[in-house]
Symmetry: D2
């Protein structure tokens, strides 16, 4: 049952069923990890898996139990400090870049915390009075979406942690078949005009997707699929990383300072390209979508091609009209854990592909409020709104997004230089 299918989660037992399923999925993700893998933080963006396990639990304890259960006794006062991420309303918190500096609490202690809160939470849900129930239900659904977001971060952080070791350890062996080849790139035309985008309030959505609102759009064309590794290689061979005319000014400075000349996780082994994946190091497949790309690189590629990135409005309109559903995409539950080539063109190939899953698609839109946005009161007002500057919107989910977590109106966002997520892009152009 999709976590966002809010209306279907009416009863306490239904809620607890979803709760158990989401919580279990988190633990399943950590299943293949060693204790050591739970602890380290190779870069500031990456959190130790141990911290994720604690933080998503903290959310239920701090935001629900501590607010709604009478006389609630905190599990451990320091955990409120250690596992708060960025909610300044809840007080001081442990310094983010030092999450990997803590050997204690141990992984075991964090898992004990998880189980203790699960037990308390189930008891509480069965006991909560009718007056609080709607609020508690809403916050629980929020907490589950929050945990799903962290499931994606867990996987990308694990990827980074494992790839940091020159031993190139495998998280999960590759299984199943992956299509070979990919359909030719084509640009599909869409008609503009007055359109509506944003969440309409049926089912769960984040505040930043709301309200549904009108906007005006010119006609546009959108590529039928994601840009591939092979296409990106051509850009590299053509000197794309060395031509300042293709880059944003900040992008050029970033690239120069980072000495960046390829997507992350790509290795040049004596002229042969390898790629580090969650299934270990292997040959680069030119047909799979390029990933772990910054906005700056996507922008430069688009300029090199004489195209541009789509806006998030264009993306959402195209997605709505294509009637895609997450069911069709390559998501976390498929356990491929890597973007997938389209395979060759066949009679059944849809007009537009890979909108959902595979990689988050950088758009040309800055992450800003929708017109008419109303900020939630209290700590939850910190959930999304306070990040609205210097970030770009990404759309569509990735191969490590939980399927039930995604919506067509979903807005992800990162700073333009970030690359540790499964981030890629498709091209757009004016007609």
């Amino acid at each position: 049952m999709p976590v966002s299918a809010e209306s279907a989660i009416g009863s306490r037992e239904a809620l607890l069923q979803v709760y158990r399923q989401v919580r279990r999925q988190t633990e399943d993700i950590c299943g293949p990890l060693t204790i050591e893998d739970h602890c380290v933080q190779p870069i500031e963006d990456v959190s130790p898996p141990k911290w994720h396990l604690g933080h998503v639990t903290w959310f239920f304890e701090q935001v629900i139990l501590a607010q709604f259960q009478r006389g609630y006794e905190v599990y451990h006062p320091l955990f409120f400090y250690l596992f708060n991420s960025y909610y300044l309303s809840f007080g001081e918190r442990w310094n983010r870049p030092l999450r990997g500096a803590l050997s204690r609490p141990t992984v075991n202690e964090v898992n004990e915390y998880r189980h203790a809160i699960d037990e308390r939470f189930e008891r509480f849900i069965n006991e909560v009075n009718e007056k609080d129930w709607p609020a508690v239900r809403g916050l629980t659904i929020l907490g589950l979406n929050h945990e799903q977001q962290h499931q994606e971060l867990l996987v990308t952080d694990i990827k980074h942690i494992l790839a940091t070791s020159p031993l190139n350890p495998v998280y999960r062996e590759r299984t199943g078949e992956v299509p070979r080849g990919c359909v030719p790139e084509q640009f599909v035309g869409f008609e503009g005009g007055l359109v509506e985008i944003g969440a309409n309030g049926s089912g769960f959505s984040y505040d930043n997707e709301q309200p549904r609102h009108k906007t005006y759009l010119s006609d546009f064309k959108l590529a039928n699929r994601l840009v591939t590794c092979g296409e990106f290689l051509e850009f590299m061979h053509d000197g794309g990383y060395d031509d300042p005319n293709l880059w944003l000014s900040d992008g050029w400075d970033w690239k120069t300072a980072e000495q960046c000349s390829r997507p992350w996780y790509w290795h040049d082994e004596d002229g042969k390209w390898k790629i580090m994946t969650l299934s270990g190091l292997r040959d680069l497949d030119p047909d799979e979508p390029v990933s772990h790309i910054s906005y700056y690189e996507a922008y430069a590629y688009a300029r090199w091609r004489g195209k541009r990135l789509p806006t998030e409005i264009e993306w959402e309109v195209a997605a709505l009209r294509s009637e895609g559903t997450p069911a069709a995409g390559n998501f976390l539950e498929d356990m491929l854990l890597h973007p997938r080539p389209t395979g060759p063109k066949t009679a059944d190939t849809p007009e537009i592909l890979q909108l959902l899953g595979d990689v988050w698609e950088w758009t040309a839109s800055a992450y800003l409020l929708y017109p008419g946005y109303i900020r939630q009161p209290g700590a939850l007002g910190e959930y999304n709104g306070k990040f609205m500057n210097n970030q770009m919107v990404l759309r569509g989910g990735s191969c490590v997004t939980p399927r039930s977590h995604l919506r067509l109106t979903y807005r992800n966002f990162f700073q333009p230089e970030k690359r540790w997520q499964f981030s890629g892009f498709r091209l757009a152009e004016d007609p």
Copy 2:
């Protein structure tokens, strides 16, 4: 004659007249400076006036003379290196943070450079063939607009340079009368719908204002005037700088790192607020618009008031409907060099005030391409487009913008933490 009134500049002599006037205005701005004032660079954002004098001259030499005059001999090969700002297409350039590290060329040598190029330029304009004339004319008008932009930067950089010295030197004594008091803040309603914004191609405009395009707008309300120093003081007294709930996350980090607790140029002298101006240090006037404010501070103030910042679309629509013209605003030529209080409400007070001049107004809009934008080829493609990330749009010009430089469609842009420009804001709200 407004520099942007392109159509009026038909003949070579008309062009040269505007050229001489703009060039003279630059030198007039440097009139009150000592040699020493021309040389220093207290922060990276600020360029030494000497550098500005050279750079705007370089533009005419590099972009026009060196491209269009046959057999042109460069004035000094190193000046092409020293006075290039950020045009990577023109090759290597002197490192920006080290502009203030150069004692040579001297101020005299730079002024000699100016005069030599002026002479060459006048001769060239009178000689240029008919085939090149349209391009040369267009680039000259661009170069003059470019120089006007630097006139504003010159004044703000001079302000910063003088204010760095604890001796608080005066650039120009305050003359003339300034109104006392200010009209009460009121929110003026505007009707939304399909609107058009952007430059329509008559007269000069930058590429980033183009093309004129349709967009959809909800109804909105806009404050009738700018936020004042007195109002901002209330925010400070109410602990606005210490409440993380009011701030963007990046803003809070910025404020904390900078230990920022007041607008720039404000000094607390034993509990009494002073303000450093181009006319020296004086008492703060609570009725004048607050200035030298970052986007982060404007955002926090708006949240504190339960309001928001307007989008650039809202601002432009309001400005168009209010039929304001730069003639009415407080601009560089007024030589007040400081934002001006509205004065008390009278029978003649317009419904909406201070849209033009006084201070640049932060908007809630990120600096991005307009739909349908076409980038110019060559080096001029670097003029605006490559800065389109992590910056916010400001509108309306300031008390140190040359009057003839401004248009209602003009888009200024800065990173959200910048404060050395005359930047303030007005509030907006949903109806």
Copy 3:
């Protein structure tokens, strides 16, 4: 059998006995650790215990097995890269600040590495030919001293790792009795003249202790014991941290930048001083020697008292004349893991106390070559000599130095700002 009693280690079996004992001691130190404690690196100076375990093993493999055993097959080629510390002669190495970024190899894998090398090493020692035996024997003794150095670092790094967690975990419960009180401070006179210091070549010593050489010394006085926590508190209460006149210029800048106002591991809990130890957080004992002090703090305290720090020559001369032996000191094997008060003065109290063990004593001597020093060829020339700038000498060993590792001529050295070692000091003065 002291590792440095080189002459006693004649036979292969004798060597292997010492080898086994030292190797076991390292593993005993890690006994109380969780897997997590082995992995983290809260500051750059601290290495994860896992890394120490690998590095000391690498030394035997790289420096002995790989050089002397014919056809030796490396255990794992990447381990040579991951576990090299700073020997540039042996090629590239993993970046020090990222030692804590590696979850793999796991603790188990590192311990397997240890045991495999131990096995290979024992076999090799029994097989090595007579020609190589003297060199191998010498390098083995060096390798064991090297491992003992890392035993001390292991304990201090573990202390830092555990103390980083606000949970204040205990490494080992305090056992046994500790004396209360301390003898009054007195200054003991020593006569100067021509003296000899340095290692005389009997028994093992590092190159930096050699050669034994003459030097001239004025008469001096040395405090009979270490400075205590109680005495240091007086300095703090008297504003010692706020008086620039007491500090070295670099020290003042360091103190200001670090916002340092107390020894490391001291906590002010509502006006009551607590100290974090390897046995957890407890009340500060004013009679125990102050520790985890930078050279800058020791220098400032000495100036506040109108005294000075002793030179390393003075220290060594005093130690030689006092005929102290490590047997009498508080060392690692005593498992107190903390400096110990002298206890009250009794009839048997020696004239001078605490020269050996308890805390490393900062001296006023820069870490430089002794006259006549001859650098060893090859990689071992990198062992000590290349660190001879910007470091000060410390003498006497600490409560976590292995007893058999110390000599009266032993020269330890750290940058003046380092505080994570057990570093304290005693005062000196001119007569």
Copy 4:
């Protein structure tokens, strides 16, 4: 009359004569500068000449007039703040890295300050009572030595300022003849034993040269001249900058971070070495002493040669025995402003050359207190003592040291990475 010939400066008039001469020499140094040259600060180590002019004047005002003249009225209260260098006892001071950020006071205003203080100072000296006279006389001599130190810094800072501009301006045209060729390097033996070094109290000396004291020295050999540019080039051609075995560990890190591969002011113009001097850019002369070298580079060169740097004791003993006097060296007054080749060996060539003048010689000695040192009370205690860590001693003066400022016991000191002074070295070895 040498400023340090203290005994010769008995009368007030004699003192004023020296005062006038030293003050004039400072102004003469600034004679060839433009206003612009007085103002900039290309790196933190370099102070704008304008600042030096103010600071040496401040010393006389703050340390003498303000302390000894009754009812003294400060010239300008802010000048006490702006022109204090590092005397924390005298209160807050302007931030050193921002000395180049101040356009005001102007050069003219600073020179007016100089002249006003000169006038006040002369009047005061003629009026000072007998009781204060000895102290005033002593502080004046200190102030003059202080100003002479800044004369050297002025010249080296001017060199850096001019060399920062790619225009390579000339400070003073080279005049006169410079010898060609240089004597072969030879090592001169010196006998060790008990020796005395340090200032004996006749004539002026700094506290850090005192007291004269005994020390023991082994026999040693010292090179008869400085290392030349040609010799240093051989080190470079032999890969000296790329062999970590030659470098101190900190030196290697410094070299790598700075991407340093040659002495400062050397330029490789298409394979031909040029050197920037105070007389502009010219061909490198292989016979002149290498200069603008860090301690790290000197150390690496010595290791490459299988030699070492001398200690400061060895240097002083050799200088004493060679009976060299500053009269023979290449100093500021010679106005060569660059180190000079020895010229070819002749019958009259002394056994040991270039000990005085030409370049400061890095020694292997850390800058530390002499045994028996007594710190001066008050602010003057900050003059030297507080810099005694992480610096190495240099001896012998340079081509821009005022001749009368130098003594054989003079101890200069810099951090091992500094290169903007005229710093070179000679080799030593054990017999």
